[in-house]
């Protein structure tokens, strides 16, 4: 049974610490990597090995917690023989720029 202190600490972390730590991270990109992997019956390990990164990074990119750098985004897109725009969803940025 959780004590009141535990619940308060978790609430504090969820509301304040996480937001503060993520503040400098900027916007996180949505990606289609998971669907592309499933279509090609590829595991996260295999994709990570092919593009020169780790499985944890691929997981973070798929869940939107981490935004890949341009070289990594390019390697992932090239691996799937697609353009970066087809793998990563930039619609949020398009909306921000007024759809130009």
């Amino acid at each position: 049974m959780q004590s009141v202190l535990d619940i308060n600490c978790k609430a504090y972390y969820t509301i304040f610490a996480k937001l503060t730590l993520q503040k400098g991270g900027g916007q996180h990109l949505k990606t289609k990597i998971k669907e592309l992997r499933r279509q090609r019956k590829l595991s996260q390990d295999e994709l990570a090995f092919a593009v020169g990164t780790t499985r944890q990074t691929i997981t973070s990119i798929e869940t939107g917690k981490y935004t890949a750098s341009l070289p990594l985004a390019y390697k992932i897109a090239r691996y799937f023989a697609l353009s970066i725009e087809e793998v990563f969803d930039f619609s949020e940025f398009d909306n921000e720029m007024g759809g130009k």
Partner: protein, 152 residues
């Protein structure tokens, strides 16, 4: 990948050298303090001066031996070498490590531990304080690493 192979070989040679030095130091420190005159009362300070550096040297020796075996396995298997390369050059891990203060937090912690060991002969309180600060710094760095690993 050839450049990374050279890095791994260099790491292996460095670890072998460190392992030999650590083992020699551990044996020397232990024998130097174990060969004291019998019948003298053992204080906490005496035990600490003998035991703590010996323990650190043995730990360092074990870590170096483990690293040497891991490097050897990587040099024999291309797949493991590639996995090691990916792990060492992963951009997300580099970001997490930089946010946790690596490598300077480790360097300053090591300097504080060495200072603590040298101070042990002079002032036990100062020595324990320096070592406690080093441990605290390493723990804080680990906590940051764990938190950022979860967030990123």
């Amino acid at each position: 990948m050839e450049a990374y192979k050279k890095t791994v070989r260099r790491r292996m040679v460095l670890c072998i050298f460190l392992a030999v030095v650590a083992l020699a130091l551990a044996v020397y420190i232990f024998s130097a303090f174990a060969s004291g005159p019998e019948g003298e009362a053992d204080t906490f300070g005496d035990g600490f001066i003998a035991g703590f550096p010996t323990g650190i040297c043995i730990g360092l020796f074990a870590l170096c031996v483990f690293t040497v075996f891991r490097c050897l396995a990587m040099l024999r298997d291309e797949q493991k070498l590639r996995l090691g390369y990916n792990r060492d050059n992963d951009e997300r891990m580099k970001l997490i490590r930089s946010k946790a203060g690596y490598p300077f937090s480790v360097v300053t912690a090591v300097i504080m531990i060495i200072a603590g060991l040298l101070l042990a002969r002079v002032n036990m309180t100062a020595s324990l304080t320096a070592i406690a600060c080093a441990c605290g710094q390493l723990i804080v760095s680990l906590v940051f690493k764990a938190v950022y690993s979860k967030i990123l």
